[in-house]
């Protein structure tokens, strides 16, 4: 390259860099606290509409859309119709960052809602934090997300590490002659599942239940048979599976049935909460007795929940039992943001962040929401749900009035 060429190239690179900086500088002011009359308020969201989390991502889209429909029907947010700007991240932590940068710098959205999963929420929150935006999210409650120390991140759902606590306490509280003697723990190395296991294990072990198997498998595993066979060979009476999706749970269930292994209790951290997306894959008979921790289910009686479920069934079909908990998590994100916008009388993200950190108690279809300084919802209550026949019911905390008796021991496969 000639000397002149080098100068031209350097000048070109400098121009692009300056232009990029200028764009970022102007875009940081894109979060306008006022919106012209008649203009919609735009909310930028990156969702996993393909890839590993596509099932959850689609349910989240439905939840966000239901909330927007509800708000728009009642006159909008501070008089502005809500417009969702949703882009797909294909379940990629890299793409999610690009998406939020685009949504803020190019699309100039007014607010942002979170993506699905802890894996994506953390990089997404970091990206929007650079622009001073708040990120209210419904599925990113892993401890690693909050350990990042971001002040703009708020999770409306329960902190995931506590999810299995009611289940573990139920096992520990069983009379000694009925309490299972052994347990197997197997989990994917995911930020959502792994933190739940040690908390549950500490409670269950303290009750004298012996750990017969403990294993972590990589998230990219596609052939679960050898792992499931190893669990079956341990012959533990309880299986605690750290899973994030239906295929993982389905694979373990199928392998257990093929190995003629029928644990008395089988709980999976994710998958059985997916309504018909779960029961249609594994079959209603095999679903019977399967347990899952969560903060919400289709028959929940929290304020607004039944109205949301009715709206869901009207728009997307199905029954209350088929509504995924993801829908409620996404809907709750909208509700909390709505309350913050109304309280701060505008769309100024810095004011919204300050308000959400103020210790105020808010309400959502999942129940109360009160954020600590890390953005975790301290007011959330963990429940355990169980498939009983074709119904998905709440079974603990046992002291809760809405809890039904646990189907214990779990029926044998296919019966």
């Amino acid at each position: 390259m000639t000397k002149k060429g080098r100068y031209l190239r350097a000048a070109g690179v400098t121009s692009v860099a300056l232009a990029s900086l200028a764009m970022m500088a102007t875009s940081s002011g894109a979060s306008s606290s006022t919106i012209a009359k008649g203009k919609p308020v735009t909310i930028g969201i990156s969702l996993s509409l393909s890839g590993d989390f596509s099932g959850d991502g689609t349910a989240f889209k439905q939840g966000y859309q239901l909330w927007a429909d509800s708000v728009n029907k009642s006159g909008g947010l501070l008089g502005h119709q809500v417009k969702l700007d949703i882009v797909s991240d294909a379940s990629s932590p890299t793409q999610v960052v690009t998406n939020y940068q685009k949504l803020i710098s190019l699309d100039h959205v007014n607010l942002t809602f979170g993506p699905f999963s802890s894996l994506l929420s953390l990089p997404a929150a970091r990206a929007v934090d650079r622009y001073g935006y708040a990120m209210v999210e419904g599925a990113g409650g892993a401890p690693s997300v909050f350990q990042a120390g971001l002040t703009n991140l708020f999770d409306v759902s329960m902190p995931v590490k506590d999810a299995l606590v009611p289940f573990a306490k139920w096992i520990a509280a069983l009379p000694a002659n009925k309490r299972p003697k052994s347990v197997a723990y197997v989990t994917t190395n995911d930020a959502f599942t792994e933190p739940q296991i040690p908390v549950a294990k500490a409670i269950i072990s303290a009750a004298g239940v012996k750990t017969k198997y403990y294993s972590v498998f990589p998230a990219e595993t596609t052939d679960y048979t050898p792992i499931a066979d190893a669990v079956a060979a341990a012959k533990a009476q309880v299986v605690v599976l750290g899973s994030v999706d239906v295929p993982t749970v389905s694979a373990f269930m199928q392998a257990f049935e093929q190995a003629h292994y029928n644990p008395q209790v089988f709980i999976a951290t994710g998958g059985p909460d997916q309504g018909t997306a779960f029961s249609s894959v594994v079959g209603i008979k095999n679903a019977d007795g399967m347990m899952v921790p969560n903060a919400w289910y289709g028959s929940a009686t929290t304020p607004g929940s039944q109205a949301m479920v009715a709206a869901y069934v009207k728009k997307y079909g199905g029954t209350p039992a088929t509504v995924s908990a993801d829908v409620a998590e996404a809907y709750s994100v909208g509700q909390i943001t709505q309350q913050a916008v109304i309280a701060t009388k505008g769309f100024d993200n810095s004011k919204i962040i300050k308000y959400l950190h103020s210790g105020v108690t808010l309400t959502s279809v999942q129940g109360g929401v009160k954020f600590d300084k890390l953005g975790e919802n301290n007011d959330a209550t963990a429940f355990t749900f169980q498939w009983q026949g074709a119904k998905f019911v709440q079974v603990n905390p046992t002291a809760n009035k809405a809890s039904k008796p646990v189907l214990f021991p779990k029926p044998v496969w296919g019966s």
Partner: protein
């Protein structure tokens, strides 16, 4: 171990199509993963909506995917010419993959499904362990199809044409072989076997269109290890990949399953860059 051999044979079936297409046409078919899933969805449709048994349904799905393969080859692959043909094929087949993935998502939704039949969840005792019927039936199916493919390649006149095209396309054309026709049929055959692989995969795993990404990475690994263009290599590599992964998962830890296999892959490729059974001369630059 037994599971690994049985499952490996099904992966071999899926990878065979990929390696056959590369061997004859120098095309790297990135769409092979989604075509396996398409095969699984076709079996699902026949089973759920028409009550046709999964194995009986192959009588319909295998010819259907053969036709799909022929159409794709005529519409897209046959138009790829010149020295950049192989690299261009990656882009074109990736585009085809995205189109099929989007179409499947629209038709079947993104919710996962799994193929059902009496033999999918059932097993029988043998040597102190339970062997799932579906693995045994899948293995038998793979053996029958791979043997048929082998006989076709090594015991028929058309097979000789394929092998001649595989060795040297120019020389094959000079002796009167219609290389274009051979390529079209090979592509069709390569896609047709995904119907069988997809059916067994769909009976042993819950799947949706996105599952294809996991599949294609495994299939590409198999044919690289086995030697691109080698049918025997694909079979051995598939069994090695699954068996090694399973043994490490049980004996050591599932965490070390993939790293151990890829360590073996790197060692093999360091010693034999053409893979276990690959022939450098079979490749066309």
């Amino acid at each position: 171990m037994l599971d690994g051999v049985l499952t490996g044979s099904v992966y071999a079936l899926m990878a065979t199509g990929l390696t056959l297409i590369f061997g004859v046409m120098n095309i790297i078919n990135i769409a092979q993963g989604i075509l396996v899933i398409l095969g699984a969805y076709l079996s699902y449709t026949l089973s759920v909506h028409f009550g046709i048994d999964l194995f009986v349904g192959l009588i319909i799905t295998i010819p259907t995917l053969f036709v799909v393969g022929v159409v794709v080859e005529r519409l897209f692959m046959a138009r790829l010419k010149g020295p950049e043909r192989t690299s261009m094929s990656i882009l074109v087949t990736y585009a085809i993959s995205l189109i099929i993935e989007g179409s499947l998502n629209m038709i079947y939704s993104i919710n996962v499904v799994q193929l059902k039949a009496w033999y999918v969840d059932k097993s029988f005792p043998i040597f102190g362990v339970y062997l799932p019927y579906i693995y045994l039936f899948g293995f038998i199916l793979a053996v029958v199809l791979l043997t048929s493919l082998y006989i076709m390649l090594y015991r028929t006149r058309f097979g000789a044409s394929i092998r001649a095209s595989l060795a040297d396309q120019v020389a094959a054309a000079l002796v009167g072989i219609n290389v274009a026709r051979v390529s079209t049929i090979c592509f069709g055959l390569g896609i047709a076997v995904t119907a069988a692989g997809g059916m067994v995969y769909g009976a042993t795993n819950a799947f949706n269109a996105s599952t294809s990404y996991d599949l294609i990475s495994r299939l590409l690994t198999i044919i690289v290890l086995g030697g691109m263009g080698s049918l025997g290599g694909a079979l051995l590599a598939a069994i090695l990949m699954v068996t090694l992964g399973d043994v490490v998962a049980v004996v050591w830890s599932p965490i070390w399953s993939s790293p151990t296999f890829f360590f073996v892959l790197v060692i093999v490729l360091s010693l034999r860059p053409q893979g276990l059974f690959g022939k450098q001369s079979a490749r066309v630059a």
